[in-house]
């Protein structure tokens, strides 16, 4: 059980710098997710924490120790790999007990700890099998079992669910969450799937091109994204965004369509300012079919044509033509909407986001 601290952490491959001096404090027993598109440096960062990649600059501390130059075995960490990385020539039980065997623990103790871990992960009946005889989900559970028998200070997960099918993914996700509650250990979890990051973690670190864009709780990064990138990355379906110009107390879109300036921004905007306007599908809905933020004054309404609909049962995603392209809207208590029909759409502007066009930074910090 230990905090992890990254200070000005840099990774270079030759002349190519892929992680640009990131700072991050992971608290003791915290579940933190590193999330971002592929190539953003999240896996590299995790592998540096594990000791599988050399650190090119800055420091990594686990507990009170700088671990930059320690080999992985001296860091008291466990890692779960995307490809499971089980030892094919060992049985499930041997796989799970391997680290204890290497540490020279007595066989009875190994047996007991493996049995405990197997019971937690429902692997008891598989202990004698070999990895090649297991399904993907079972293999991933064995990989987790191997990680937990050691009771490490820090658990590292490198996209552990990516090789599983959708149904298993949800199952194992729940198991990981339970595991965190039970183990009370620091966990760092890398994923490109923002849903995994949102559902699992205490805090999310959103990375892009080797920089950290934002660190915050799932609620913070969803409701108060600091940058346009974070706003677009978190949330499914993604936030609707388009460029606007401020003119005559209105937001003017490229097509000439206008919306009133959202109340919370009225004092701060100047005429001629160029911005990006963003509104989540939850805050843009067929009139009467959305969540009410309570600020009726902030709701603007426009007649817009339906282009297609995607019914999901409890809700329907409605794509409506606005500013020359399709904006996504989440329709609660859905009713059938024929394509081409014009309907009255509500823009809940109290929930709108505005980003600086050049820096991409959010206007309200």
């Amino acid at each position: 059980m230990a905090p992890v601290s990254l200070k000005k952490l840099v990774k270079r491959y030759g002349a190519l710098e892929v992680v640009h001096g990131i700072d991050l404090e992971v608290k003791d027993r915290e579940f933190i997710a590193l999330v971002g598109p592929s190539g953003c440096g999240k896996s590299t960062t995790l592998r540096m924490i594990a000791g599988l990649e050399d650190v090119s600059g800055g420091t990594i501390e686990i507990g009170d120790n700088v671990v930059n130059d320690l080999p992985p075995r001296a860091r008291n960490i466990s890692m779960v790999f995307q490809s499971y990385a089980l030892y094919p020539h060992m049985t499930v039980g041997e796989n799970m007990g391997f680290s204890l065997k290497i540490a020279g623990r007595p066989p009875e103790e190994i047996k007991e700890k493996v049995a405990d871990a197997a019971a937690i992960l429902d692997l008891t009946h598989l202990l004698e099998r070999r990895p090649s005889q297991l399904s993907g989900g079972q293999r991933q559970r064995v990989a987790m079992g191997r990680a937990i028998v050691r009771r490490p200070d820090v658990f590292l997960f490198d996209e552990p669910l990516s090789n599983l099918d959708a149904k298993l993914r949800t199952q194992v996700r729940t198991e990981i969450k339970k595991l965190h509650a039970r183990m009370q250990a620091t966990m760092i979890y890398v994923t490109h799937d923002q849903v995994e990051a949102m559902t699992l973690s205490d805090r999310i670190v959103i990375m892009r091109d080797g920089h950290i864009e934002q660190v915050g709780t799932p609620e913070e990064v969803f409701n108060r994204p600091l940058t346009k990138f974070v706003a677009g990355f978190i949330g499914s379906p993604p936030m609707n965004m388009d460029d606007v110009t401020v003119a005559d107390g209105k937001l003017v879109f490229a097509s000439g369509a206008t919306l009133p300036i959202p109340p919370k921004f009225r004092q701060s905007l100047t005429s001629g300012q160029k911005l990006t306007f963003g509104l989540r599908p939850d805050d843009f809905f067929p009139a009467g079919h959305g969540l009410n933020s309570g600020d009726a004054e902030a709701v603007a309404e426009l007649e817009l044509p339906v282009s297609i609909t995607e019914p999901l049962g409890n809700e329907t995603l409605v794509f409506v033509g606005f500013n020359g392209r399709d904006w996504v809207s989440r329709m609660l208590n859905p009713r059938p909407l024929p394509s081409g029909q014009s309907i009255k759409m509500s823009f809940d502007l109290s929930q709108a986001h505005l980003f600086d066009l050049t820096t991409g930074k959010s206007l309200v910090a």
Binding site: M79, I102, A103
Partner: protein
């Protein structure tokens, strides 16, 4: 008319059977038969005298044969183990090479490109007690002032042959094991590092089990190869001095063509083949076990 009554499959397979019979079945049967006769090349009519198992009994009770047999097994064991260790070392080193790995792999195969006869001549020269490079080097370095009789002392001669054999064939192991190393997934090794293994433990518990099938394939191929060693020995010592480097096949060759006792030589040869088969079966068993262990899907 009669031919056309045979069914198409039989007709189509007939040429293949004919060729196989001519080049494999007939010689095999003939040699097997002749091992039950006192056939000598100088007395063709002796091929028709049937003497039962007498050749085999002579072979079994011949001290020279068993010495050659034992020496072959010893030679095989030493050569294979040395090649295995050196090949493994070489493969591990080459797999670590960041640059020029392709070039190294090609270089590594050079010894395999030379005819064993030429290798024999080359090592005969290297080990020559008078003008050989090795004695020359040892003397120049001041390690000895004697001319070491590499190919004349009985024990040293077998050692010299082993060196030549190992030099020419270590790359078989190196290449097969390197193939295993390159095909091996990285993740289990990284998992082992995280699980607390030192580099040595990682090799012992993760890398080596994975490489074992490749090593056993090389062992199988090479055991057949070494068990029929003839050319290098023939060139370097011709079984001498005083039969101290006589191996199974040089003995067979000498009996067959030197003494012209073809029937006896064939009886020995069948013994030698049994030895080869035993080694192959042994290594294939090991291979199957190792493959099953790593859950290989090939």
């Amino acid at each position: 008319m009669k031919l056309s009554r045979l069914s198409a499959p039989v007709l189509l397979l007939f040429p293949a059977f004919l060729v196989l019979a001519a080049v494999v079945v007939v010689p095999l049967a003939l040699s097997f038969y002749s091992s039950f006769t006192p056939f000598r090349l100088t007395k063709p009519e002796s091929l028709y005298v049937f003497i039962g198992l007498r050749n085999y009994i002579t072979v079994i009770s011949s001290w020279d044969f068993w010495v050659a047999f034992g020496r072959t097994v010893l030679f095989l064991t030493i050569a294979l183990n040395a090649e295995m260790l050196l090949g493994l070392g070489l493969a591990l080193l080459v797999s670590k090479a960041v640059r020029g790995q392709r070039l190294l792999r090609t270089l590594m195969m050079f010894p395999m490109m030379f005819s064993p006869v030429l290798v024999g001549f080359q090592f005969k020269f290297l080990f020559n007690d008078n003008i050989g490079l090795i004695n020359n080097a040892l003397q120049s370095l001041g390690l000895t002032d004697q001319a070491i009789p590499w190919l004349i002392n009985g024990n040293l001669a077998l050692f010299s042959i082993t060196v030549a054999e190992v030099w020419s064939s270590t790359s078989v192991f190196a290449i097969l094991i390197l193939a295993g190393l390159l095909a091996m997934p990285r993740d289990p090794i990284e998992a082992a590092h995280v699980d607390g293994c030192t580099p040595l433990q990682t090799f012992r518990y993760v890398t080596w089990p994975y490489l074992m099938p490749f090593a056993f394939i090389a062992m199988t191929i090479r055991s057949l190869d070494v068990a029929r060693a003839y050319d290098i020995v023939k060139i370097m010592t011709d079984g001498g001095p005083a039969k101290r480097t006589e191996l199974l096949w040089t003995l067979v060759g000498r009996t067959a063509y030197g003494d012209a006792r073809m029937g006896m030589a064939n009886a020995m040869a069948y013994f030698a083949i049994v030895l080869s088969i035993l080694f192959t079966v042994y290594f294939f068993r090991k291979l199957a076990a190792a493959r099953q262990q790593i859950g290989a899907e090939w």
